[in-house]
């Protein structure tokens, strides 16, 4: 069995540094991105009417835009656009 003294443990804990949080978040959002998050955000930034519709009723605006009801996607849009 491996001998885990305090120094060994400390070194092993230091061996895996934390990557930038933004990288992790981007990777965690891959499923949402695949479901259109990036497209929605891009369109909201370019199309004021669409952005206004999102602000007024986010779930409804997404539905009208052709996206299936998806609470996780709606929450991510809200977060990305600071709604």
């Amino acid at each position: 069995m491996h001998e885990y003294n305090e120094e060994t443990l400390a070194n092993l804990l230091r061996t895996l540094p934390t990557p930038p949080q933004a990288w992790v978040k981007a990777a965690q959002e891959i499923p949402l991105a695949r479901r259109g998050l990036d497209d929605i955000v891009e369109r909201a930034r370019a199309d004021q009417a669409f952005r206004d519709a999102l602000i007024a009723d986010l779930e409804r605006a997404l539905e009208v835009a052709g996206f299936d009801s998806d609470p996780a996607l709606a929450e991510a849009v809200r977060e990305r656009l600071f709604l």
Partner: protein, 184 residues
């Protein structure tokens, strides 16, 4: 003691389209993938970021093809390794096809595997221990910063870290180690 889902259970949930499981999977392996890129292959931050995102994008796409759900860690390691090498080759001007892996990659990844096992054991510890050890060792935070973040007197941090290391060692060695008496 926290009950931590096995890699296989987590992968199975990801395959069912569970976004929370995917977030957890990224969280679980993000340090490992990052460390392979910057420690084993010594990529720049910019190149490491490209590799990091590509690894998880491909993992997401190909997860349904994974034959053994328990093999997610070596599978990610292999994928990261291949993409790191591609990154080095794309940056090299000559003899692109012949560029070998940097020396010591196997040894570094072996050490990272061991470090990941320690982090997995860390994940089973109570929140207070997990938090304090992670902040001090992995995030390199000072006693003062940890004290402020966790609302603890800075003078007690060292002893709490020491007690938590004992618990961590006990977890790793499969021994019953008495819990710290207070807060740590």
């Amino acid at each position: 003691m926290q009950v931590v889902e096995t890699d296989a259970q987590l992968v199975a949930r990801c395959r069912e389209g569970d976004d929370d499981a995917w977030r957890e999977l990224v969280e679980r392996f993000s340090r490992y993938v990052y460390a392979i890129a910057v420690q084993a292959f010594r990529l720049s931050q910019a190149d490491a970021e490209d590799v990091f995102q590509e690894v998880f994008a491909r993992a997401y796409e190909n997860l349904p093809k994974l034959r053994d759900d328990n093999a997610i860690r070596p599978w990610l390691a292999q994928l990261t390794r291949r993409l790191c090498l591609d990154s080095l080759r794309s940056g090299a001007r000559e003899q692109v096809g012949d560029l070998p892996e940097p020396s010591g990659v196997d040894e570094t990844i072996s050490q990272l595997d061991e470090a990941l096992a320690v982090h997995e054991a860390l994940a089973t510890l109570p929140d207070n221990c997990r938090e304090i050890l992670d902040r001090f060792f992995a995030r390199d935070e000072s006693y003062r910063l940890i004290g402020e973040a966790l609302d603890l007197p800075a003078g007690t941090i060292a002893s709490r870290i020491s007690r938590c290391l004992v618990k961590l060692r006990g977890e790793l060695e499969g021994r019953n180690v008495p819990a710290p008496e207070s807060g740590g």
